[in-house]
């Protein structure tokens, strides 16, 4: 399972109950719904990403990546 970021389509008033249910039906374990910015986080197998992308209210399906900054003793941060 990988952490997945679903971006909902633009210019729509998302019915988040329906959106969440349809994503779960397609195999996503929803972990977080960010309603102000139209993002849904979840976990799934990589092979399932295409299924999510095909849903009508989905703009993109991306894998969550990590970010990092330099250690505290670095002169450049």
């Amino acid at each position: 399972m990988i952490n997945i970021i679903i971006t909902l389509s633009d210019n729509e008033k998302w019915d988040l109950d329906i959106v969440t249910k349809e994503l779960e039906k397609s195999g996503l374990t929803v972990t977080q719904v960010l309603k102000k910015i139209g993002i849904i986080h979840g976990k799934a197998e990589p092979g399932q990403m295409k299924k999510f992308a095909a849903l009508r209210f989905v703009k993109s399906v991306e894998i969550s990546k990590s970010m990092s900054i330099a250690p505290p003793n670095s002169p450049i941060q």
């Binding site: 102000k36 993109s60 969550s64 990546k65 990590s66 970010m67 900054i69 002169p75 941060q77």
Partner: protein
């Protein structure tokens, strides 16, 4: 005497009056009062098809009002203009009155004397560049700042130290490693915190977050040393999206943005990024949705350049999003930070939008060190975020309007646009 100069003598001069926002009607009454211009002589853009004013049809004794622009052009003799100028100083409805200028197409009627002067100046600059090199020339022409007992160089260069605004009433979110809750410089401040990495505290065990909060929102009167914070009265929202080891996930950062937008923070400062030449649809979309909701995301361009070795890097994610304001780093002579990323990708959104102090930046650090001087575009972004709070306070602007104000008021630098965008951020 030519026909043109005859006309100039005969025609009354015209003046352009700029009215304050929403003051067109009252401002017009003032014009009427001071200049004796009759409203019946005035024309408005609504009198013309498609609001396209034909100046030839405008009465020479009156003038015309551009309703959508909030300006008027009035014919006035010297006495009338003098009266209006005198009355303007105390008039709250009029922003400015200026004589109408004449513009000429570039290249037309250029005198030999002008061209000779232009040639001589160009030759002198060319020789100077050959002798000293362009970089040297830029550095000689630029200003120089240093930390004093009272102020860091960054607050001086950005004019934040002279601003009468403090960020009062503005919520500023810093998504980073947290804030040291024991630091004396933040005692008594209005601080709201939230952890997005699976813990419960926003305590900073790294230092990066405390430094960034310090630059953007630090005290006007710190416990010791110079003042280093810009928006000293702003409400601080601390989102811990990076661990004490300095790492975090996109999911935690996006959750932090959601929290800041829902908390109606006009500014979200993010001194973080990944080494990715392209952005994600998620960050691009979220940046735009935040702007639409009145929240401006400010992000560090990145530290992946090594300019002294002729490597200029690229702007990292999420600063390389069209909807995120990307910040490059300057040193105290307004030269580029050696590490500051350049837009070498040259795609939509990958630009550096603005620059700010980011080399040898003194700010708060977790106790017991209390203070630390470090460098990075991470230090430049909070300067811009704090100054955005000052503009948000002074103008009421939010979202894309606030972005535009920051860009429009930046100070032009001699560096390529790909390094510093529009220039050095300036406080109101």
């Amino acid at each position: 005497m030519s026909t043109k100069s005859k006309e100039e003598k005969i025609l009354p001069k015209r003046f352009i009056v700029t009215f304050r926002e929403g003051s067109l009607k009252k401002g017009m009454a003032s014009v009427n009062n001071f200049m004796g211009v009759k409203m019946s002589n005035m024309m408005s853009s609504a009198d013309f098809d498609d609001n396209a004013i034909n100046m030839a049809e405008v009465s020479r004794s009156g003038g015309v009002v551009f309703n959508h622009l909030g300006i008027g052009v009035f014919s006035a003799d010297e006495d009338q203009a003098r009266k209006l100028m005198a009355g303007m100083a105390e008039n709250q409805h009029i922003m400015a009155i200026e004589p109408e200028g004449t513009r000429y197409a570039l290249g037309a009627d250029v005198s030999e004397e002008y061209l000779r002067g232009f040639r001589d100046a160009s030759d002198a600059l060319y020789e100077y560049s050959r002798k000293y090199g362009c970089e040297k020339q830029m550095s000689l022409l630029s200003e120089s700042y240093k930390d004093t007992n009272a102020l860091t160089w960054g607050l001086q260069a950005t004019l934040a130290a002279k601003s009468k605004f403090s960020g009062k009433g503005i919520q500023l979110a810093v998504l980073d490693t947290g804030l040291d809750g024991k630091h004396p410089d933040f005692t008594g401040r209005n601080i709201t915190g939230k952890n997005f990495i699976g813990g419960t505290t926003t305590q900073d065990g790294h230092g990066h977050g405390t430094h960034c909060v310090g630059t953007s929102c630090g005290s006007k009167n710190p416990a010791e040393g110079p003042r280093y914070g810009v928006a000293y009265d702003a409400e601080i929202f601390v989102g811990k999206v990076l661990s004490d080891e300095g790492s975090g996930q996109d999911t935690g950062i996006l959750a932090g943005i959601e929290w800041a937008v829902a908390s109606k923070c006009p500014i979200i400062s993010m001194s973080l990024g990944s080494e990715s030449e392209t952005t994600t649809i998620a960050y691009e979309s979220v940046g735009q949705r935040a702007l639409d909701a009145g929240s401006l995301i400010v992000a560090a361009a990145g530290n992946n350049a090594n300019r002294s070795s002729s490597y200029y890097g690229y702007v990292g994610c999420p600063a390389n999003s069209k909807s995120v304001l990307s910040v490059g780093a300057l040193d105290c002579r307004l030269g580029m930070g050696d590490f500051s990323s350049r837009d070498t990708i040259l795609a939509a959104g990958t630009a550096v939008d603005i620059a700010a102090p980011g080399v040898d930046i003194y700010s708060s650090w977790p106790m017991r060190d209390k203070y630390n001087t470090i460098s990075g575009t991470s230090m430049a972004a909070p300067h811009v975020a704090g100054i955005a709070a000052l503009w948000a306070e002074s103008t009421g602007a939010r979202g894309a309007s606030l972005w535009q104000i920051l860009i429009a008021n930046a100070k032009t630098l001699s560096h390529p646009f790909a390094d510093v965008g529009r220039g050095l951020v300036q406080a109101p």
